[in-house]
Symmetry: C2
Subunit: 310 residues, 2 copies
Amino acid sequence: MNEFELIARLTKSLPTNQNVVTGAGDDCAVLDLGVPDKLFLFKTDAVVEGIHFKKNSPPEKIGRKALARCLSDIAAMAGTPTTALVTIGLPENFKPGFVEKIYGGMNALAQKHGVAIAGGETTTNPDRIFISIALLGTVGREKQILRSGAKAGDAIFVTGELGGSLAGKHLEFEPRLHEARWLAENFSIHAMIDLSDGLAGDLRHLLKSSRVGAELLKSTIPISRAAKETARQKPFTKPPFIAALTDGEDFELLFTVPGSDAVKLLDAWKKQFPKLRLRCIGKITADEGITIRNKSGAQPLTANGYVHFA
Amino acid sequence: MNEFELIARLTKSLPTNQNVVTGAGDDCAVLDLGVPDKLFLFKTDAVVEGIHFKKNSPPEKIGRKALARCLSDIAAMAGTPTTALVTIGLPENFKPGFVEKIYGGMNALAQKHGVAIAGGETTTNPDRIFISIALLGTVGREKQILRSGAKAGDAIFVTGELGGSLAGKHLEFEPRLHEARWLAENFSIHAMIDLSDGLAGDLRHLLKSSRVGAELLKSTIPISRAAKETARQKPFTKPPFIAALTDGEDFELLFTVPGSDAVKLLDAWKKQFPKLRLRCIGKITADEGITIRNKSGAQPLTANGYVHFA
């Protein structure tokens, strides 16, 4: 049983109440706490030694990553993060200086985005460091962007470049908070998700929530230099294009807008964010499933996203 | 370095913002999210296999305990819990049925208290199950009860009976949510904390926050049957009175009210909660430190609360 099958079983019968606008199954939970013009976003995410970082990863980057992952989920709803709590499980022989540096990396990123760290909890996890972040954010009422709004004819966009994140980006990525809010304020974004499981996997999540399909244009998928470099160094692992489709932890934004807005969006983006690439990689189709088109025609995408249990 | 020393170092320089009314250092963080009549309580807490439960503990009780610990912290602020997220770290060979039962125990307790579980996150923790709960609650504006309000002359009260929780109560305790709200609505509660580290340790936390001391009356400390039974079975470990002072995970309420309200409170409590004992165990003093009085006089309490790294 993989992560997604387990989650499907566990989320079938979760208790709910009148505060919950959107529960399990999107990037964040959306809560109505009675503020007239705002909804609240609520998210938890964990990083674990040996899974999401190495024992010898720089501690500042470990802490930074732990928070950045949650921030990326707030970005995927076009929200603004406000308050975090930090739960850290430590082996008994932990080094206080190492833990302080983890917090240092976290605090610096929090400050950059105006996020308060209002406490949390320390506990024992005997074998490895385990960091769980709980994050609250806000979004204008009716302004939250879900995974479920994609429509046939939408253009599909992705920020940045994909694949090879494990070579370093996974510890240093910038959560696309400003970009997401700008998109939501200036365009009709139908659906959005952040890329944590890989383009193919996360696109499938978005398509499933929206009950539509997609056709991607192979030549437009932005492949990162790291993915190309990794393929050069390890020629028997996956080629760069497959890495861009299936590598996890890109933490870029994947979103759809009405096809008629595509050109206007690309023009406005280039002026607003000249240093960050935005690519139209295909379109939403009424038929479900993903096909990839290249010069010789279209074929169904069988390579699934990396189904990581994380 | 123990848990409390580490926390003191880590919480010195946490970033904050205008939403945070009370940050690290109380039972919950208190947030002002712009609702005119309400403040929000935000809490995370974790349970870890081999630390807070055993590999063969009944899974329903593991899930129940994970949530109940957080609910107890909401109770300590006289709040009402509303929405939880669940982060669960699982070894790769996890049994889906076991995990579903963990959620079953958690869901049942959530439903009992009207709490929604709005999602969360599954991840890998290779060696053991790790469950972190993030919980949001509400409390009337200016109605939150902190650790820091105790005043010299206050009477000190404790609910239930103390010590020996590891014999079973730690998996089955009832978070004192109703009792705490009734107290806050009907009496002037100056300070409150839930007992997770043991009476001596948690009283010290409350006294330190309030910058006062306490004199306890030895004969009034309510000792649980489990503490007495454990002492009978293991006569070379601590005597029952010391267990009641220092055992962790009682999850009872410890609070102070003006001394002049003590008798009225005891009378009203007996009518309201006839099945749950409430004991006045001493009084707040202007001099810092804890003394314990018995027939032969008063002596300083040196037995510290169990400083568990959890």
